[in-house]
């Protein structure tokens, strides 16, 4: 078992190691790692003042909540003075002059960034194979074919692999349709997508604004609570940031529930799934039943529409969000004879295939004559999906689902976009509803690969969601 944030903090407080030693240990792993989980590793000299400041705070006995903790940051978060690429060629030379709200909170709380995690280009992908910087390799191997390189999932594949390989204590990802939870599941770690509106999107390269949400990928549920405490704040500069009162997510995390908990398992999610996946649900059910938690069958009415709805709305927003990458003001510009040529050449050469595909889909569903049939219709269905979740969450406290329909697959195995999109079948509905979801490791597949289950809670109920996940985690932990 890897060290948790609280264990590391304890060691630093007790002076069993210094902040510098801790940092060097993770930096060395990040630099020597051959999973391609970082697009950029930050040199020690660029972090030296942060390391020294952090050590001073420990020496003075007043460390900050995340003091000295080495973090990986998905290369979608703008980091001041540090190249931020969204794993795209078009931003491959872009150095922001500002720090995203979320990463600023992490810096304010004393954490130290190891580097920028590889991800799918503009967070579009479920396997981290669309990155301009090449695919990320899952640290896990299929025990029956050890030589195959597997995908870590995506789009936060680098963030997940980095935590799993031990080159950072925790990492930041973003989740639009499953981009935190799915790679967390495939890499055997914890991934939390908070309620939409919890964590500011300011300074995160936008993919689909109504769905994008930042969240942590961590070794354990408690670590997720540590990070969430830091990043979950109202931000005036994000109009969709909620200004509800935030809670301390750590305070009750190891306590048992005071009231009786009821969890719904959507039977429609479990049709046609493999035994591997069914086992995860069964394991979890058994483990939690011991704690007096009740399980009931629930049935969604809208599940079959979720993926199509998502693949209309997310590309529609993306087609507009990515219009600013035109080679005019920043990023890579390809010359041309005319203005239109500059646009065409810069964007054709700057974007990869999946990004291009989604821009085209998005422009299509928004275009005159198709808007009502696609975009407007999808908005209506999204409302129905939301209502469907509300209906079920009126009956139960949480929903339990698999995180993914399968284990990690081989790099290059899924060439057809539709079969790739299906990887997010369990995570997309939650995203459309804006609800929080957490994936925790629940067991190993027959091939010895990690799998996860997803708990879904009600809006802004991250505190009890983490409490539940922590309870399940104690029962489900598996040995690597």
């Amino acid at each position: 078992m890897k060290n948790s944030i609280s264990q590391i903090k304890k060691a630093l407080i007790e002076k069993k190691m210094s902040v510098g030693e801790l940092y060097d240990e993770y930096l060395a792993k990040a630099k020597s790692g051959n999973n391609n989980s970082f697009n950029l590793v930050i040199d020690r000299e660029n972090n030296i003042s942060s390391i020294n400041d952090s050590q001073n705070r420990y020496d003075n006995g007043n460390p900050l909540p995340l003091d000295g903790i080495p973090l990986g940051i998905k290369d979608l978060f703008c980091t001041k003075g540090i190249r931020t690429t969204a794993s795209s060629k078009i931003l491959s030379n872009f150095i922001p002059n500002y720090e995203s709200f979320v990463t600023q909170q992490l810096l304010n709380d004393g954490s130290i960034f190891i580097g920028k995690n590889n991800c799918d280009e503009f967070a579009m992908g479920s396997s981290n194979e669309t990155s301009y910087f090449g695919p990320v390799i899952n640290p896990w191997k299929n025990k029956n074919s050890q030589k195959d390189n597997l995908v870590p999932g995506g789009s936060s594949g680098g963030s997940a692999a980095a935590v799993a390989e031990g080159s950072c204590v925790a990492s930041m990802g973003t989740d639009t349709g499953g981009s935190i939870r799915q790679p967390a599941s495939l890499c055997g770690i914890v991934g939390l997508k908070p309620t939409f509106g919890s964590c500011s999107r300011w300074g995160i390269v936008a993919f689909a604004s109504s769905l994008d949400q930042a969240g942590p990928l961590t070794n354990c549920v408690e670590d997720a609570a540590y990070v969430l405490n830091s990043i979950n704040k109202h931000d005036f500069n994000d109009s969709t940031s909620s200004n509800h009162q935030r809670e301390d997510y750590l305070v009750d995390i190891n306590n048992s529930f005071e009231k009786k908990i009821k969890i719904g398992i959507p039977s429609d999610y479990l049709e046609d799934v493999s035994d591997d996946i069914l086992n995860q649900i069964d394991n979890t059910k058994k483990a939690l039943s011991k704690h007096g938690i009740e399980f009931v069958d629930v049935k969604f009415k809208t599940t079959e529409y979720a993926l199509s709805t998502y693949y209309i709305l997310a590309p529609a927003e993306a087609s507009s969000n990515l219009a600013r990458y035109d080679g005019i003001r920043y990023g890579v510009r390809e010359d041309g004879e005319s203005l239109d040529d500059i646009y065409l050449n810069s964007r054709t050469k700057g974007f990869g295939d999946e990004v291009t595909r989604r821009i085209l889909i998005g422009a299509y569903v928004l275009s005159a004559g198709y808007y009502d049939a696609y975009y407007r219709q999808a908005q209506k269905v999204r409302r129905l999906i939301k209502n469907d979740f509300q209906r079920i969450l009126n009956e139960v406290d949480f929903i339990l689902t698999p995180t993914t329909p399968n284990e990690a697959f081989k790099i290059g195995d899924k060439l057809d976009p539709i079969s790739m999109y299906k990887n997010d079948i369990y995570t997309v509905p939650t995203s459309l509803a804006g609800l929080p979801g957490i994936s925790i490791p629940s067991g190993l597949s027959k091939n010895g690969l990690p799998l996860g289950v997803q708990f879904i809670g009600n809006y802004f109920e991250e505190k009890s969601l983490l409490q539940l996940a922590a309870l399940a985690e104690k029962e489900l932990s598996f040995n690597e």
Partner: protein
């Protein structure tokens, strides 16, 4: 030939709102800065930047709603209008489309001797774009993003206008109202108010023709020229057997001609959709009601007040209400003195405005002189000085050279209103005028003027003319 033809015009007027910061960013909203000075990360479309609505723009839109008789919508939505251009850094303009903040308003304009009601379909808030400058360098274009994100209220009329003069009256009335309610500085030269003209022609009584849109006109002169040219152009095409294409036109100010910029088949598909970075604007009745008192008196209210309460002549009243600052100055003088409003008005539109024009001043610059002005007018209406002396002193008062009463003394302009003294002067003046006296008594009124002049001259212009008149009449009737 064009007698059988009439033009049908609808206008889109873009009014820049006078907020201190932009519609969705905190950059200053001001004209005349160095290029790209008023630009932040949001304006320049940096990755991950998000818009935050400036509520001041909503308040200004609500004020406009009251002034232009609009229905103020409690629910409005900002959408993205997507197109590529280098002076549009986000690749989309944030605008209201399906749900504008204002709908179904109107204003009354003058058309000949009559009033005409011009219906306004909608008004919506949107961001302005930056400026592309193509004429500095032969090879490169330059981009100034200062204007990016400046709040605009686009006011879209129905095609209720039917002449260039009506269009100009409509825009002037809009401009006057927007300036009155303090939401737009009305400076057309700086682009604070610009109009797109949609014009079609038809034979009288027939159905609407195909329209062309002339973009971005920012002076009354150009608007008139463009309308007249385009009207004739369309008639000529139809008369020679052609058909009007629905084009977007540019007006070339150097040639006075309109020419096609793009045709409908190349028109953009803007792919509008609600901006997911922004929440819909949902206003409560209280929020809307709260703005109403801020609208203040509108020009028509003032006109009625000036005619009914102050008995001004309509022409003079109109000159005063034309600009809010005139009316403010006028009303300040009324509130500060007991001089008759009519006298104040006459002096304001006469000598005072002449002084302002001559010295190239702002009307507001006289705000601290109002007491001196009314003191001067008081001296005139009390017959302490003559009208003529008043005219002489006014520029000195406005230049701050002294208080009116001091200036009167200094320049020795006090009227002689001592009847004893005047009687003496009059008696002297009548000596040797027997012939003229007889003429007067024989019914010739003209002689009276002659005698008044002679007496005034004897007082070196300082004699009180009214008193002189009175005493003269007494003497002559004897």
């Amino acid at each position: 030939m064009s007698n059988n033809w009439e033009m049908v015009i609808g206008l889109e007027v873009h009014a820049q709102l006078k907020t201190s910061s932009k519609l969705f960013s905190s950059s200053p909203n001001q004209f005349g800065s160095e290029p790209n000075e008023n630009v932040n990360f949001i304006d320049s479309g940096m990755p991950g930047m998000l818009p935050v609505m400036n509520f001041g723009c909503i308040e200004m839109a609500i004020k406009t709603g009251y002034a232009l008789n609009f229905k103020i919508n409690k629910h409005s939505v900002f959408e993205r209008k997507n197109y590529f251009y280098p002076d549009l850094p986000q690749g989309y303009q944030i605008s209201q489309f399906e749900f504008p903040i204002l709908s179904e308003g109107y204003i009354n304009i003058e058309s000949g001797d009559n009033q005409k009601k011009i219906r306004i379909e909608r008004a919506h808030l949107e961001q302005d774009a930056g400026k592309s400058i193509h004429d500095i360098d032969p090879k490169y274009s330059f981009i100034d993003l200062n204007r990016v994100g400046t709040p605009l209220l686009e006011i879209v009329s129905y095609p209720d206008l039917s002449s260039a003069d009506e269009v100009i009256n409509y825009i002037s009335s809009l401009r006057q109202l927007l300036m009155y309610i303090d939401v737009c500085d009305g400076n057309m030269q700086e682009g604070s108010l610009r109009a797109d003209v949609n014009l079609s022609v038809r034979k009288k009584g027939q159905e609407l023709g195909t329209r062309c849109e002339i973009k971005n006109l920012n002076s009354f002169k150009f608007i008139k020229q463009a309308i007249e040219y385009e009207f004739q152009r369309q008639i000529n095409i139809i008369d020679s057997g052609g058909e009007i294409e629905q084009n977007t036109m540019l007006f070339d100010t150097s040639t006075g001609e309109t020419r096609a910029m793009r045709s409908k088949e190349f028109s953009h598909d803007y792919r509008y959709f609600p901006d997911p970075d922004l929440l819909p604007v949902n206003l409560s009745q209280e929020q809307i009601d709260k703005i109403k008192p801020l609208v203040g008196e509108l020009p028509q209210d003032k006109l009625n007040k000036y005619l009914d309460n102050y008995s001004l002549d309509k022409d003079i009243a109109k000159i005063i209400i034309a600009e809010k600052q005139n009316a403010n100055l006028f009303e300040k003088m009324i509130s500060e003195s007991t001089v008759k409003p009519k006298l104040i008005a006459a002096w304001l539109v006469g000598d005072i405005f002449a002084f302002i024009k001559e010295n190239n001043l702002e009307v507001d610059s006289l705000n601290d002189k109002t007491k001196d002005i009314t003191d001067l007018l008081r001296l005139i209406s009390d017959d302490v000085i003559s009208n003529k002396a008043g005219k002489e002193i006014l520029p000195k008062v406005l230049n701050g050279e002294g208080k009116p009463s001091e200036l009167v003394k200094e320049l020795g302009l006090e009227q002689v209103s001592d009847s004893g003294e005047l009687e003496k002067i009059i008696d002297e003046a009548l000596v040797g005028e027997e012939e003229n006296i007889l003429k007067f008594q024989g019914g010739s009124d003209r002689v009276l003027g002659y005698f008044v002049g002679k007496c005034l001259k004897a007082t070196k212009g300082k004699g009180n003319p009214k008193l002189i008149n009175k005493i003269l009449l007494e003497r002559l009737k004897k």
